[in-house]
């Protein structure tokens, strides 16, 4: 399915929450630090399960990654006014639900540039406003909604664990690479991701 040696030419299969699979180029996937930590050096045996996110969201996220493949290296958040026409169209096309799904997926996949632009867009909604105006801009959740959020975070932690396990499984099957460092890498990543999501779901 994949080869670690020429990841820019190869296509990886991504699996969405609906169980659908689609191709993403290695170059686009490499913008995801989560992917880099888990699959880049060892390859993936079968589809990579990002099953906490639907196909539309994942396609939107990787559309961004494919587009920014040829851009210069990321050097910190840009001011909104510095965004290209393509970037602006990309964001303007999304409705609120899709925007939130994209932030969540981008955060999970640890795509620094996309997450940062999304955050800057939200910060922009709050700029120049007083407290009363800010209250109107943000919806304050009820206790039930907060509880639901916690459940989602827990679910994501479980998903992260699942992805890490998949990576571990792949690592075990990879015989051509040195065994010990890969296993250490996978174990470290699994621990890191699980800790990260558990800590936020506990907040």
């Amino acid at each position: 399915m994949t080869s670690p040696a020429s990841s820019s030419e190869v296509k990886y299969l991504i699996e969405s929450s609906e169980g659908n699979t689609f191709d993403v180029s290695g170059a686009a996937l490499r913008q995801s630090n989560t992917f880099n930590a888990m699959f880049l050096n060892i390859g993936a045996d079968g589809p990579i399960p990002f099953t906490d996110y639907n196909e539309a969201t994942l396609k939107k996220v990787f559309e961004y990654c494919e587009h920014s493949v040829n851009e210069e290296n990321y050097s910190g958040p840009k001011h909104q006014d510095d965004l290209s026409k393509w970037d602006l169209n990309f964001f303007n096309e999304m409705d609120q639900k899709m925007f939130i799904d994209v932030i969540n997926a981008s955060n999970f996949l640890d795509i620094e540039r996309l997450t940062s632009y999304c955050c800057e867009r939200i910060a922009r909604m709050l700029r120049g406003k007083n407290t009363q105006e800010m209250i109107k801009v943000i919806t304050l959740p009820t206790a039930e909604e907060l509880e639901a959020k916690q459940k989602v975070e827990e679910k994501k932690a479980a998903a992260a664990k699942k992805v890490a396990e998949k990576a571990a499984e792949t690592a075990e099957k990879t015989e051509t690479l040195e065994e010990l460092p890969v296993q250490q890498l996978v174990q470290t990543t699994r621990n890191k991701l699980t800790r990260k999501y558990l800590s936020f779901s506990n907040e």
Binding site: V137, E153, K196
Partner: protein, 308 residues
Amino acid sequence: MYSPFPLLRLPGVVLCEIFKSLKIGEKIKLSLCSKKVSIQINNARLYSQKVIVDLDRLCHKIKVYSENNKDSFEIFVHFNYGICDPNSIKVEGRTLSVISVLHGIKTFWKNHQEGFLSVIRHLLKIFRCKFSIYNDFYSDLYEKTISELFNLQVEFKTLTIHFKRAGDQHLFWNQISNKLGLVEDLLISSTFDSDFIPVFTSWPQNINILNSDWFTLESLLTCPCTTITLWNSSLGNKDLDEILKNWKSGGFPNLERLIIHSHRIRNNGTTILGMNLEEMVIQTDDGSKKATFKLGYQSIEMSVTVSQ
């Protein structure tokens, strides 16, 4: 863009990124939206920028600004004379009116002191704060505020100590003298009673004493500060001999600048360490540091550099 936006449905790490990109004032105003928002902002405190908080009770003002001074926000703490605002908000459990003004907000409290401390507590939860107090000693509540801040283990950028009443000196000094390690610049502007000589059980990074006749040679020899400035000192040329001998043999390990103004410092041909004051350049015994001197009318300034 999207309004209303369900901000708190976003994951904690994303919220943290959003808060990081907000300006000081935006973060403070957002924290006043609701307790839930405030909790999220407080959770991201460790990742927040370090700010300096100027307490100015005379002007009823708390100024919060970045270390490079490029971003600032002012919070005015006023007494509430019964203004009823339907848009009141909660700060530290108290409901109060808030009005936006240019570069800041005005807050109205039933108890002025409580208001001041509540705002400070609120800021401490949002930012990593360093405090500066310059002219607060005109306020009756000055000592209470400082004690409270020391109890909260906050750091001070600048702390001015000035006792209004002689009777307060012992008690207040005892409360703070072992906590001066939290202070970067300490300015002591009081004149002390003759029966009271403050004893330092901890030291700030830099010390500046305006009426330092009580600050003896013995005190100075134990002072580990980086910058020491003594005005109206009673130290003379003989004391300078002692100070420099001590420095040469490894004393004052952190010293970068020592300034002493004293009517007892004479530059009339007398020598220190056998050298004429005008040309003096000395080295530590181990050769690691060099000191140069500038002489003024009844004053001497010593600058220390590390030898090449």
